[in-house]
């Protein structure tokens, strides 16, 4: 059977065409968004010519800038929190074995696949209840000048940190599982105390995974609309801004925002992928007897 037989085989040529169509279907809308972000015309859907005009306009829009700033701040803070707590949790889970481990593992995966809308509603209800309970206490303690806790940036950060933490945990934990235990033994053999072994061997070994977890958490937070929408209060993030301005019609600015978001997310995913594959390749242990 040569290559020609393969090409003439009706089923495989059908499948090939199907795959092509599928990719067009998936990526054409995204390509269009990118293409139209360079439109020089006044309307989002009316392609006039190539220019960076709308990037400039977007960049000068104070509302966009505020939303963008909020998103960056929220993503950075929540990803940092998620990374710290996710990594600590992964390290702690190392020592958990047996059925308890299975329970924890399942809970983590459930946390990842729970729909955003459920997390959004659940965290909203939690915050409202919690603040409803806490605010009167604060009033009683400090009188009328007491701070009133409300929905806003901190609640978005908390909600994001919560659901991205499990992502960090899964990534770091799989790295721990793939880590060569003999490295830790070698370090101990070479007179390093457990504390020094952690800083000099364990942490550097986990670092790529921790970075990857941070970047993924950042991307998730930066792109998230649903959870933020529920707990944002008066604050606006970039996805929320896009959503609310679309109700007034798609402007060419939206295309530029989408394109920038796309580039940020894709490059973060690319770096993440790279970090993980490279470090895994280096940490690979030869097969034991």
């Amino acid at each position: 059977m040569g290559a020609n037989d393969y090409m003439r085989d009706p089923i495989s040529s059908l499948l090939k065409n199907y795959a092509t169509l599928l990719y067009i279907f998936l990526y054409a809308p995204i390509a269009l968004v990118v293409l139209f972000s360079f439109n020089s015309g006044n309307y989002a859907a009316d392609l006039q010519g190539f220019s960076f005009r709308w990037y400039g306009e977007t960049w000068r829009d104070p509302f966009v800038l505020e939303a963008f700033g909020n998103s960056i701040f929220i993503a950075t803070t929540s990803a940092t929190l998620a990374t710290i707590f996710g990594t600590l949790a992964a390290l702690a889970l190392q020592n958990v074995r047996g059925w308890l481990r299975t329970v924890y593992d399942s809970l983590i995966y459930i946390a990842i696949i729970i729909p955003g809308i459920v997390i959004g509603i659940a965290t909203l209800i939690f915050f409202v209840q919690f603040f409803g309970w806490l605010n009167p206490i604060l009033q009683n303690l400090f009188g009328p000048t007491a701070p009133r806790l409300n929905l806003g940036m901190p609640t978005i950060i908390a909600a994001h940190a919560l659901f991205t933490m499990s992502i960090v945990l899964v990534i770091v934990r799989s790295r721990i599982a793939g880590m060569d235990r003999s490295l830790i033994e070698a370090s101990s053999d070479l007179y390093a105390t457990p504390f020094n072994t952690f800083w000099q061997v364990t942490l550097p070994q986990l670092f790529p995974a921790i970075m990857a977890g941070f970047l993924l958490a950042f991307t998730f937070s930066f792109d998230d609309f649903i959870v933020a929408f529920f707990v944002a209060g008066p604050n606006t993030t970039l996805p929320i801004y896009v959503f609310s301005s679309i109700r007034r019609g798609v402007t060419p600015k939206i295309n530029t925002i989408a394109t920038v978001t796309l580039i940020v997310s894709l490059s973060f995913l690319f770096i993440t992928q790279n970090l993980l594959t490279r470090s895994n390749a280096r940490a690979r242990t030869p097969d034991k007897e």
Binding site: E185, S187, D189, L190, Y191, A192, Q205, E289
Partner: protein, 367 residues
């Protein structure tokens, strides 16, 4: 008594280590003399690695006592034991270059050593394993043999009381393995540190060790110098593991100055018992073990007055200096015979008489 304790770098007294229901180390006792090259030899799964890991402090014994340089190490964690290990797959730190790997142990010392002092000792250690100039390489850029030498340097730089080596040559190809055997032995003499070496390769153990402990199922079957083990194996297992042997099974019929064994075909064989083994008793199942190089061959009819076992050469393998003959005899079955190639000259199908001196065989307990 105190004197004798200090003559040994390592001592095990009835040490037991179990993993679940597996007794990986089943009550072993031994002493490793200072400055010696000591090997644990046995098939995979017999507990060699576990024994080594007990010395290193990576496993805790479930019973018995372990002494390093005369001190009980029951309460001492691995990072406070003055022993170093060369791991089977080297376990070099992938995020450090060669120099930082080698200097790792020195950097843990408190009070801290001066960086210049560390650099100098790293240089010396790399020179010792002939890797000068490799300071800035990454471990994954090195060949297997080079990685192993980095691992050696990383361990030896700390001047440990004992160096532990877990099948360090197993991952190397044959040629390199031979070179490293010689190199390791030379290195051990040079640095004068006690080496505890684990291998499943008897040739490796024989050629390098001062003393060998042959292990089986978590126990030490026999301990001795290579020549002692070769010439006086205590049982069939050791005789089969150390070098090659022909085993002719039978039953002990008489124990005197020699042991007489009757094969199932009624052939009477006489051989001395092994001097290190428990004496054989009548009716015990035994084997007469004969090394292939201790058997002579004569062409049938030329044997003169010698009495031997008639047989036919079924296979000839030329090994260079020696030639191996497989001989099928009627009375004692299959025999492997090794003759120096000079006096060879038998071909496949030749009728021969196989003969060995009564003192050349050993009567051993069969198991």
């Amino acid at each position: 008594m105190t004197q004798s304790v200090v003559d040994f770098d390592i001592e095990f007294r009835n040490v037991v280590k179990t993993f679940g229901s597996v007794r990986a180390v089943n009550g072993i006792s031994f002493q490793i003399p200072k400055g010696s090259f000591y090997s644990f030899l046995g098939p995979s799964g017999c507990g060699k690695t576990s024994s080594l890991r007990l010395i290193g402090g990576f496993e805790q014994p479930d019973g018995g006592e372990i002494y390093i340089a005369g001190e009980s190490v029951a309460q001492i964690p691995s990072y406070q034991r003055h022993v170093n290990m060369v791991f089977q797959y080297y376990a070099l730190f992938p995020h450090m270059n060669v120099a930082r790997n080698v200097g790792y142990g020195l950097r843990q010392q408190r009070p801290k050593l001066l960086p210049d002092e560390i650099d100098k000792r790293v240089k010396d250690a790399l020179a010792l394993v002939r890797l000068s100039g490799y300071e800035n390489r990454r471990s994954w850029e090195l060949s297997g043999g080079q990685q192993q030498r980095v691992a050696l340097a990383r361990a030896l730089i700390n001047k440990p009381t004992v160096l532990l080596l877990d099948e360090p040559l197993a991952a190397l190809d044959r040629k390199l393995r031979k070179d490293m055997q010689i190199e390791l032995k030379t290195l051990q003499r040079e640095v004068g540190i006690t080496f505890v070496f684990v291998t499943h390769d008897q040739e490796e153990a024989l050629s390098m060790s001062d003393r060998i402990a042959v292990m089986r199922d978590g126990k030490i079957v026999q301990e001795g110098s290579p020549t002692e083990l070769y010439n006086h194996p205590v049982d069939r297992y050791v005789a089969g593991f150390i070098g090659q042997s022909n085993f002719i099974p039978g039953e002990v019929v008489e124990v005197g100055e020699r042991v007489t064994v009757r094969t199932p075909l009624g052939v009477m064989l006489s051989a001395p018992g092994s001097k290190d083994a428990k004496p054989l008793v009548e009716k015990a199942k035994a084997v007469v073990a004969v090394r292939p190089e201790r058997i002579g061959l004569w062409r049938e009819g030329e044997a003169g007055g010698q009495s031997g076992f008639k047989g036919r050469v079924s296979q000839v393998t030329f090994l260079g200096d020696q030639t191996e003959y497989h001989v099928e005899t009627e009375e004692v079955g299959h025999l492997l015979v090794k003759l120096s190639s000079g006096n060879a000259g038998f071909g496949g199908g030749d009728s021969v008489v196989a003969y060995w001196n009564q003192t050349a065989g050993l009567a051993l307990l069969d198991d």
